[in-house]
């Protein structure tokens, strides 16, 4: 349920993998490669991960969600490698009895992924590529 992979991401089996009879709500987030960045045409993206650590951090996000919302059924899949425009780079699925916690936990998971999970992307334009860097973390852990 917590994976960094080079393979294409298909949300449907991921949803089926977390869904239980007690659930009424499933919130899915798809991160998709945009064709534009800062007004410039994007050709494709290169995603790179520190895989062993990234998967460990994805599991940690799942644990944080369990503690905060008592929500257990969470999946986080991040694809890496060269990804074309329109392709799904990230799938986050949260299934829960009710929609409030499903929305909150899914949004939290994406925010948290962008803070602590060692994955990077390079936007490639016609005239070259640029590594995107997020906000530096304020304090070191």
């Amino acid at each position: 349920m917590f994976k960094v992979t080079e393979a294409p991401l298909d949300p449907q089996p991921i949803v089926q993998g977390v869904l239980k009879e007690s659930h009424g709500a499933v919130v899915t987030f798809l991160g998709v490669v945009r064709g534009w960045s800062g007004g410039r045409r994007v050709l494709y993206m290169e995603y790179e991960a520190y895989k062993e650590m990234a998967e460990k951090k994805l599991v940690e996000i799942g644990q944080e969600i369990r503690q905060r919302w008592q929500v257990e059924d969470v999946a986080l899949y991040h694809r890496v490698g060269r990804l074309e425009v329109g392709v799904t780079s990230l799938v986050v699925v949260v299934a829960a009895p009710h929609r409030g916690e499903a929305f909150a936990a899914c949004h939290y998971a994406v925010d948290r992924l962008k803070e602590i999970v060692p994955i990077w992307k390079k936007e490639v334009f016609e005239d070259g590529g640029v590594w995107v860097e997020g906000e530096p973390m304020l304090e070191e852990k």
Binding site: G31, V32, V33, R34, S37, Y47, E48, A49, Y50, E52, M53, A54, K56, H78, S89, L90, V110, L113, K114, E115, I116, V117, P118, I119, W120, K121, K122, W131, V132, E133, G134, E135, P136, M137, E140, K141
Partner: protein, 82 residues
């Protein structure tokens, strides 16, 4: 003793290598290792990155042990657009 240093994203490209084996003295800290690395790679002086030791975020004061894997972690940017 020896530690393995891993570089990612811009630092991988900058250093021209994904990883490097580095010989250091017993009890070397993360900070001391970085100082040594920056002789070869001056850009490592800017400190716009975090450090992980054995796949966990670490402090500059952390002492290293033989065989440790030290990673340079620039600000992460996974997911969708910034």
């Amino acid at each position: 003793m020896q530690v393995k240093v891993r570089f990612f994203a811009r630092y991988r490209e900058m250093t021209g290598q994904g990883e490097s084996a580095v010989e250091v003295e017993e009890g070397t800290t993360v900070a001391q290792l970085l100082k040594k690395l920056s002789l070869g790679f001056p850009e490592l002086d800017n400190r716009h990155f975090l450090i992980a030791v054995n796949a966990e975020y670490a402090t500059l004061e952390q002492p290293l042990r033989h065989g440790d894997e030290v990673a340079i972690i620039p600000p992460v940017s996974g997911g969708e657009g910034v």
